[in-house]
Every structure is written in C-alpha cells, then in structure tokens.
C-alpha cells in the first residue's frame, strides 16, 4: 500500500460519506428554505435549530415496517431502489471538486480531488444520467400498481425527452472547451477577461447554461417537472408502494442526483474551484459555495413555481427546448470555427 493508494482509497470513501451526508443535509436545507419562503419556522425541535431532524427522520424510516404488495415482482421490487441509488452515486465518481493537492506536504505526488480522472468524463456523466431512469421505471413496473406504473411511464417519457437537450447543452460546452475531460474544462476557466470578468463558460454559453439547468431539473424529477410523483394525481408515483428504507433509498437518490447535477453545472459553467480571493489549494471552498448556490436555486424553484401539465411538459421539451439546444450548438460551433471564440 503506497501513500498515494491509501489517499486515493480514503478519497473514495470520503466522497461516498460526503454524498450520503449531503442527502441528509439537503433534506434539512430544503425544509428550512421552504419554511423561509412560506414564512414558517421549519424543523426546530430536534437538536439546535432542528439540525438533527434528518437524523431523526432516518431513524424513524429504519424502524418502519417494510411492506411489499403481494402481486409485486419480488426480485425487481428489491432491485429497483438499489439501482436508483447506485446510479446516483456513480455519476459523482468523475466529478472533480478541487485542484490537485498534496494535503499540506503529506504526500509526495499531488492528489487529484476526483475519484476517477476519466478522459471522457463528460460522456460518463451523460451515460450514468441516462441509466438512472431504470430504477424509477422498474420500481413503477414491479410494484404492480396503477399509480406506480403511471409514474414510472411518465418519468421514462420525461427523462428520454429531456436527455436530448441535456446532451446537446453538454456538447456545446465541449465544442468550446475542446476536451471531454472535466478537469481540463475547469482548468480552461481559470483567470479573467479584462481583469475583472471571470473566464467562466456561463458567459460564453448563457443559453447552454439555461438549457442545462432546465433539463437537469427535469432529469432529477424536481418541481416544476415532478410529474413522476405528482401527489395530487398519482399518490406518490413510482414509489407509492415503497416503505421504510427502500423508500429512503429513492429519496436519497433524488437528492444525490440534485447534488451531482449542481456539481457538474459548477464544473462546466461556473469555473469549478476557480475564484478570486482564495489560493488554489482552498478552491474547494469556492466549489462548495457555487454548488450550494445552485442547490438553493433548485429549492427556490420548487417552492415558487406550480407544476406544469404533462402535455405542456412534453411540448416544451420537444418543441421549445430541443430546437433551442440545436440552434445553440450550431451557433457555438460556427463561433468556434469562424471567429475563434474560445
């Protein structure tokens, strides 16, 4: 065991634990922000300022009775939440969240703050995002209940529709960055234009950023696109029949997916760990701040906008978002080719 290998393994474990706790933290964050937006108190009884509320929720969920419909497909019913959670964790493996560090001289070689530095990282994220639909669809089908099935069908239709725009938004960033590696995409956003505008890609790709965020919200099934679990029509959608920890796994997967989408948006559009005032070794603070800002935006959206109607969602995805994404990609490619916009 070399020190680098130990550092790599502990980094993997660290990311895993951080993602787990980020899901719990998000539950608290979301409830507090929701309370703020609705002029309520939010959780405040368990622990100081209600900080231990997520922990109490988890303990409650663990001790709940595990129910399974008699007509359910046992194998797939058990497998579906596992698939959802696995896909959620897998995507973050290729997301870099800080500059290389030697941990204040502890290591001989610098360690990349990224679980796996894959040369095609952006595509890996897209691939994992496209795999995350399986958990939801299979949960809907294997429950053998009409609400679950409808929720599962809606979610697969929605995810397929918005995946295209999501992919095209990624592609227009790649055309500018001229690389498929997330680390390289982040590193080319270092520095400033004219000394005060940070060289973040959001300034070159404002449309791409909007498309990415819209499609990202749809991909993670969040309001205003939360049809798979529209409670007024579908009880709870694909996880209607789930209870106890299996339900908790879906819940966790949704929050981790949100964190991943925000982290990827930070890396692609907001300059990752690059920012003023802090030395590069503390760049991860910038990264966390930016991710938190996007997550706040997510929660803000949910408690501000009403849910779309299903046909509106489909029409918007195919007839508005996709054409804009295609035009954006073509304009970007032309800009790079003829005007050398880099």
């Amino acid at each position: 065991m070399t020190p680098v290998l130990i550092a790599q393994l502990s980094l993997t474990l660290f990311v895993f634990v951080m993602l787990l706790s980020s899901a719990a933290g998000m539950v608290y964050f979301e409830r507090k922000v929701a309370a703020l937006l609705q002029q309520r108190m939010g959780p405040y009884l368990v622990g100081p300022k209600g900080l231990l509320q997520p922990l109490a929720d988890i303990i409650k969920l663990m001790f709940k009775e595990e129910l399974r419909p008699r007509a359910a497909d046992t194998l797939l019913f058990t497998l579906a939440p596992v698939m959802a959670a696995t896909a959620a964790f897998a995507a973050f493996a290729v997301v870099p969240f800080g500059a290389s560090t030697t941990l204040f001289g502890l290591l001989d070689e610098p360690l990349r703050l990224q679980v796996a530095d894959v040369p095609v990282a952006v595509l890996v994220i897209f691939a994992v995002a496209s795999m995350s639909v399986y958990g939801i669809v299979l949960a809907g089908w294997s429950s053998n209940s009409k609400y679950s099935l409808l929720g599962g069908l809606r979610s697969s239709a929605q995810m397929i529709s918005y995946e295209l725009s999501y992919g095209l938004a990624l592609a227009s960033v790649l055309v500018i960055a001229n690389s498929l590696s997330l680390t390289e995409v982040v590193n080319r956003q270092a520095g400033t234009w004219f000394g005060f505008i940070p060289r973040w890609l959001i300034f070159l790709q404002p449309v791409g950023f909007l498309i990415y965020m819209t499609a990202g919200i749809a991909e993670t099934n969040r309001a205003p696109f939360d049809f798979p679990e529209a409670e007024q029509e579908l009880v709870a959608g694909y996880h209607t029949e789930y209870s106890s920890m299996r339900f908790a796994m879906f819940f966790m997967a949704e929050y981790i997916n949100m964190v991943t989408v925000s982290a990827v948006a930070t890396d692609l559009f907001l300059g990752g760990w690059h920012g003023p005032f802090l030395p590069e070794s503390f760049g991860w603070i910038w990264f966390l701040l930016k991710v938190a800002a996007i997550l706040f935006f997510y929660v803000w959206m949910r408690w501000t906008l009403p849910r779309y109607r299903y046909d509106q969602l489909m029409r918007f995805g195919w007839k508005v978002l996709l054409p804009i994404a295609v035009v954006n990609l073509i304009v970007t490619a032309a800009g790079v080719l003829y005007f050398d916009v880099r």
Binding site: D73, P119, V120, L123, A127, S130, Y134, V137, E163, L180
Partner: protein, 175 residues
C-alpha cells in the same frame, strides 16, 4: 486477462439468459447487463470513448425504449402451452419458425467466421482511444458506411411514423 474472462463470461452468460426468460422485462434487463459487460471489454481494449458510447446509445437510449414498449404492451406470456409442447422449434408457429431459421443461419455464419483463420482486421486509424481520430476516420475512410447507416435509420423513422399514423386513422383514440 482475468477481467477479460470475467466480462466475457458475463456478456455470454447474460446473453444466453436473455432468450431463456419467460418474462420480457427480465430479458431486457439481462440484455442491459450484457451491454455493460461489452462496454467493460471496450475499456480493456483502451477505447473508453467507444465504451461510454456503448452505454449511452444501447443501455441508456435503446433499452429504455425497449423497456417502455414492453411495459406498455405488458404481455409477459409470449407463447402458448400447446406451442411449447411441440418438440422441435421448426414445427412451432410462424414467428418462431422464422426465428429458428435465422438462428441456424447465424450459427453457420459464426462457425464459418471463426474457422476462417486467425487473421484480425487492422483498424485503419491505429488508435481508437482518441475521439478526434475516431471522428476523422468516420467521416473520411468510412463516410459511405456512415451515410448509409443514417439513411437506414431515417427509413426506420419514417416507417415508424407511418405505422403510428395508420393505427390512429383506423378508429383508435389518439394516444
């Protein structure tokens, strides 16, 4: 080498299990497992781009559509008991007979291809790890095959649209 045999075993095993399933949803899932193992083999061949594309296109897009269709049809039983009682595939009903013939043809082809010798086709680009090289070769050396494939997909798309339209005109409610 261990990894090669592992991925190979998963790919072959799950492919065989695909056709052994009675429930089409399980078949779809096993096919996804097989694609995953194939993409692992591409990684071992130092072609990460091809591996990821394999996942995106097959496991991520095509199989989701398969799953969607199978779920909508929701017909887990695909053959009758009387049909299964017949001992030989060639005596069973129409589609199975055609399928059996195709399988035999494919088996013969496979044996022929494997016994032809050990010469391997040399990839014109040399390396498949670079996206740039793949793109260049695809649009120069293999541009004809590329364009023909796109026409083929266009034809399939037009066909699907026509089939969907005809069904609606026959009196069924629009979806």
């Amino acid at each position: 080498m261990t990894l090669f045999y592992l991925f190979g075993a998963i790919a072959v095993g799950s492919s065989l299990l695909v056709i052994a399933q009675r429930n089409p949803i399980h078949s779809v899932l096993l096919l996804i497992a097989s694609f995953g193992a194939l993409s692992g083999l591409y990684v071992l061949l130092d072609a990460p781009f091809v591996a990821v594309i394999q996942i995106i296109v097959y496991a991520g897009a095509i199989m989701v559509l398969f799953l969607f269709v199978v779920m909508l049809l929701n017909a887990p039983v695909e053959e009758t008991e009387a049909d299964l009682a017949r001992p030989y595939l060639l005596l069973r009903s129409g589609p199975m007979r055609a399928g059996a013939l195709l399988a035999i043809a494919l088996g013969v082809e496979l044996v022929w291809a494997l016994t032809r010798g050990t010469e391997t086709g040399v990839f014109a680009g040399g390396s498949v790890s670079s996206v740039r090289d793949i793109g260049r070769i695809l649009f120069t050396e293999y541009s004809f095959a590329f364009e023909v494939t796109s026409v083929l997909i266009l034809v399939a798309m037009v066909g699907a649209v026509i089939l969907a339209r005809r069904e609606r005109r026959a009196g069924g409610a629009p979806e």
